[in-house]
Symmetry: C2
Subunit: 329 residues, 2 copies
DNA sequence: TTGTATGCGTTATCAG
DNA sequence: CTGATAACGCATACAA
């Protein structure tokens, strides 16, 4: 037993202060207590170095001041950003975060919900991919980027709007023939709308476009094949690309450079997410920036809301464009 | 109250199974129980959908199966990697992680230790910078990259060895005049040894070298001034640079390119940490790779060790070199 | 306003 | 091997 088990309790404080146990509790919870009593209790707390024990309170109130965050990992910089801002928002409200990494494993998504229940978290914020995931109805649940039902609030960036902006920017920067490429689960989630917005704006602008949407399992080489297919007389027949994520954009740029094309001179590229070098430097590629901080704030205030049912079932937050040097401003 | 408060308890299970409360507890904790009893209990658990309640156990045993991780943030990709692997290691051992972001704020480092105590975490893994931080002696404490005393295990990469490798590689790739640049706290922590190793190998190899170590607060422009000072007749008088971190390496490369120099043709660059693009793609720069997974494993097994005092006070884990295209292999 | 007493769900001790 | 029962630290309903 490495831990010192002699930590003072409220009873010790009460004895030291010469007051009742309940009074100590009331002082600690900031309730109405006589000035003299409060002073005595606070002094006793100081003298004993009393530390509040959350386990007792959790048992008694069935509230742990903990919110679970279920997310694939923290290696992907976008997820890392999300974890960071959600934790900050939780901390502001005096909540702790219980982190659950799924690694995109669908079974683990389900198992974590069990685990979270055992740990009596006060709510769950989840970014998941399991198509059959059952949402618990006995614990506040908020999802990111994926709509389950009207009773489960979904927080997402304005993916559709982002797609539109991408098309508009490419057009504005002189593109004539563009394409949208993405990979992702077959699940129709919010990010799927990036394509829809892009297509919508292309049609509106009379911009010639193509779309290539691959499944998650598809090998990356299929994207390279697509690019190869668009080489005519040594030149690329596309002059603008919009990619589902910044990561894909970056990969595509590598491929283009290997093929001997220059970005943005020969072909302009826009990604999605708003990933910065080392999290705080310049954007990795020109991109549609997700409002991560607002998303985090919305998730936390939704999951902590006393009346979850009054939360809109889909909260869409505005995105914006930012240059990362892969477009011709 | 959003949460359903009618969750079944062990007493309910006991009643349903027609056994005693203690028997249920023993079944759940995998202790010796008669076959028939075990079956009855397990069936009752199924029927009632019983979920173990950790709050009760935590109160009773004063163990929460939670380890606190105190770290600046998760935006820096190196920290993100650390958080990820530590969480994985904890999960393997059926432990949860309590994440604390300090944002490099020294006061918060101290406050978190209080908070962690209140939450009765079973141990702390900390990556801190507060020079006056008081290590609690009533809770297992392990530190990353910073040595406090022989009684506080410190886990770190072999920073000295990494510095040596950097010098050796630069020499091997044909450099004649190199420099080490870094920024960091004045704190003498383990990463400070990157310089020592580098210098040691330079001396050994007879490689001409310079060193520029700036304080955290120093403006980045001082690095650019240093570079400017080494431009002679439009050429850089240095042909190899070793930087304290990959992030600094990347920033320096930006500066060099703005100044019209090419990397690695004109000057070769090696960083430290082993940051990959998007966490899983190619290395951002040529680098000394920290063994993050091993560090995580060491931290977790140290902090969970029953006899912390038997843990070596400094655990140094081997690093290796990896190319990121900023060196001439 | 303050004191007292009970119970939250669990583990552990002791009898049987 | 199993059953009954007493804590663990705290919040709260109720009594004073």
């Amino acid at each position: 037993m490495a831990k010192a088990k002699n930590a003072p309790t409220m009873a010790d404080v009460a004895r030291e202060a010469g007051v009742a146990l309940g009074t100590v509790s009331r002082v600690i919870n900031g309730q109405q207590v006589g000035e003299e009593f409060r002073r005595k209790v606070e002094e006793a707390i100081q003298r004993l170095g009393y530390q509040y024990n959350n386990s007792g309170r959790a048992l008694r109130t069935d509230r742990t001041n903990t919110i679970a965050l279920i997310i694939p990992n923290t290696i992907n910089p976008y997820f890392a950003l999300l974890v960071h801002h959600i934790n900050i928002e939780l901390e502001k409200r005096n909540y702790r975060m219980l982190l659950c990494f799924t690694e995109y494993d669908r079974d683990r998504e389900t198992e974590f919900i069990q685990m979270v229940r055992q740990n009596r978290a006060d709510g769950i914020i989840a970014l998941t991919y399991n198509p059959n995931l059952t949402i618990p109805d006995d614990i506040p649940f908020v999802t990111i980027d994926r709509f389950f039902s009207v009773s489960v609030p979904c927080i997402a960036a304005d993916n559709f709007g982002g797609g539109r902006i991408a098309a508009q920017k490419l057009a504005e920067f002189g593109c004539r023939k563009v394409a949208f490429l993405r990979t992702g689960s077959s699940l129709t989630n919010e990010p799927s709308k990036r394509k829809d917005g892009f297509v919508s704006a292309c049609v509106e602008l009379g911009l010639s476009f193509e779309v290539l949407a691959l499944e998650d399992e598809a090998p990356y080489s299929q994207f390279e094949a697509f690019l190869q297919d668009h080489v005519v007389d040594g030149k690329l027949s596309l002059d603008g690309l919009f990619l589902g994520t910044d990561m894909l954009a970056w990969q595509i740029i590598q491929s283009l450079q290997r093929m001997g094309f220059r970005v943005p001179e020969d072909v302009q590229v826009i990604g999605f997410d708003g990933i910065r070098m080392f999290g705080n430097q310049s954007y990795v590629v020109s991109t549609i920036v997700q409002p991560v901080q607002d998303i985090a704030e919305a998730c936390v205030s939704a999951v902590l809301s006393r009346h979850l049912s009054t939360i809109p079932s889909l909260i869409c937050l505005p995105v914006h464009y930012a240059s990362g040097g892969t477009t011709k401003e």
